[in-house]
């Protein structure tokens, strides 16, 4: 009986909490669709960022979880400038979470000729 109860609790938790494994592919797809094929273009960056944020937010809302979301996207032109970003939060440790995707992936050997770095962060917090 106890095991069944535990299983039900885990399922319930999955339904209402922010699961990084579910969210990571959503973010990766959004970035790949918009900026993988292009080079840094000052006139278009604003549009790319808006598209990425909108498509991520749309898919997060479609998950229909009782969560509030924040999606942040930063694109930096690669000119050798030092760039450092940090994140910290004060929230419900069990159910809230953050997923951050950096593109291009520093560990992969993809061609990096796009001259830019994109950092996409999704935060989910329970109501």
């Amino acid at each position: 009986m106890l095991e069944q109860e535990e299983n039900i609790n885990l399922l319930q938790k999955e339904l209402i909490s922010f699961q990084p494994e579910q969210i990571d592919p959503i973010l990766q797809t959004a970035i790949n669709e918009v900026i993988k094929p292009v080079s840094y273009d000052e006139s278009k960056v604003q549009q790319w960022i808006d598209t990425i944020c909108e498509s991520c937010m749309k898919q997060l809302v479609e998950l229909q979880k009782p969560l509030k979301y924040i999606v942040t996207c930063t694109i930096v032109q690669s000119t050798g400038a030092g760039f450092h970003t940090t994140h910290s939060s004060y929230w419900d440790l069990e159910n809230d979470n953050v997923v951050q995707v950096i593109w291009p992936n520093p560990n992969s050997k993809d061609e990096n000729n796009s001259h830019m770095v994109c950092v996409l962060t999704a935060i989910g917090m329970t109501l």
Binding site: Q46, C53, Y69, T72, G80, F83, D96
Partner: protein, 120 residues
């Protein structure tokens, strides 16, 4: 935990004051140094969060700090949010000196403060 002023809106001025104070203390009179950037970020975040906690409001916070060396590179940042329009808010603080750009964003999401009479 007792919160003062439960139901108050997100106060941008108060948060801005806390964050500006934190940045000023950490980055005052500094030149961009890649070895120290990590420590600077952490210090700014720590003192900002402590200051926000001491405001004693029923909010959860998420803080993002971006520190960038000034060399003419372009940077564009955007945020999209799905939250309670009346109570939640964000505060952006931009700070710079001759060699550093610092951008701190604080997101505050309100928490429902339930009364103690809820039964299981």
């Amino acid at each position: 935990m007792d919160f003062q002023d439960a139901g108050q809106d997100f106060s941008v001025e108060d948060v801005e004051t806390v964050v500006k104070g934190a940045i000023g203390i950490v980055l005052n009179d500094t030149m961009y140094n890649p070895k120290k950037v990590n420590d600077w970020s952490n210090s700014i975040i720590d003192s900002s969060l402590k200051g926000l906690q001491s405001l004693n409001r029923p909010y959860k916070y998420a803080i993002t700090v971006i520190i960038m060396q000034k060399n003419g590179a372009g940077l564009v940042s955007a945020a999209s949010t799905y939250w309670d329009l009346s109570k939640d808010g964000l505060c952006k603080v931009n700070w710079e000196n001759n060699t550093i750009h610092c951008l701190v964003t604080v997101y505050g999401l309100s928490v429902n403060v339930e009364s103690q009479t809820e039964t299981d």
